[in-house]
Amino acid sequence: MKNLTRAALALAVCFAVAGSGLLLAGHAWAQAPAKASQEPAKPKPQYKASSILIEPVDPGDVPMPATFQVAIYEYLIDQVTKTKKFQHVYRSGDKAAAGASDLITLRTRAEKFKMGSEKKREVTTVAGATKIKLKLLITDHDGKVLADPDVEGAVHFMGGNLNATYDFAKHVADIIRDLFI
């Protein structure tokens, strides 16, 4: 009888130790990603500038229609202005930009273009997407590259093909928000 009681006690202690160990491990595992999410993995550089010059799209070798190039340029000006990070957003060729001391220049070069079909998109849901991919180049007044990410824009379901250019401009505006104070 005594042996049985001792064995039961030992088993209970074992279970308690194992249970608490599992609890601690689970707690530690749960805490780790929370800490990681609180601290940004890489501190992003924060630049400050009062004005930005936006250049038209360089199509390069990509057969991008002029309508898309113009839409990208116009939506970029629209969306960058909406970020309210700059006092002046200059268009390409604007004479007033020459006098700006801390002028940032934003250039785009086409890398990929795939024309879709609105009809296909709406009928099938999975086919007919219009996709664009451009290299974004943001340089300061001295020509130093501040950022050069590849940015994509797409329209997968609703809307016309030109909505891909709007999507692209929205992504660029997000980058501008992250990059500039």
Binding site: P56, A66, V70, A71, L162
Partner: protein, 202 residues
Amino acid sequence: MKTLIAERIYSHSDGRNQPGRSTHWRAGVLAVAAAVLLVPAAIPVFGQQAAQPSSGEAAQAPADKNNATCIIGLEHIKHNARGKLTVEADALQFVTEKGTAKIPIASIEDLFAGKDDQQVFHGLGGTAIKAGVPYEGGRVLSLFSRETGTLTVQYRDSNGGLHGAIFVLAKGQGTVFKRQCVAKGAKASTPAEEPEKEEKKP
């Protein structure tokens, strides 16, 4: 089959057959079926009516009512605004209910005429109609689209800043407007193509 089921339901619920109600039910089913058959038949006619001003003489002389949508690119004009696009003596003019925008012909650096497709049921209203059709039936409505023309204008403002305006017009109108602007002295990197004419079969 459905009417038989309906009759059975009526006979169960009331304890007796009600021929009057089943007749109403049949009439309802027939009306719905007729509507389903007639709506797709009417849609192409609707699309053709909208596309008619684009061809022939109507394309040469824009109508008095709104003939274009400015997608983007004009100062003080909202995106996707409907209005009347005309070529005046010295400017390309776009008039909406809320304002007027002029692009001086001399400031135009390049012109591009293109074509695109537009859904017959487009915009907020069209999306609502499609969403309202049960059993994903709105996808059938998405099959109906019409060809449209586009006119892209690159021009400079008084400060030298580059602008780009995009207009969506009826089929073939983009080329017509491009030719008119080029005739008045606007620059264009590519020659204006002849408007596409429908081939008449013998």
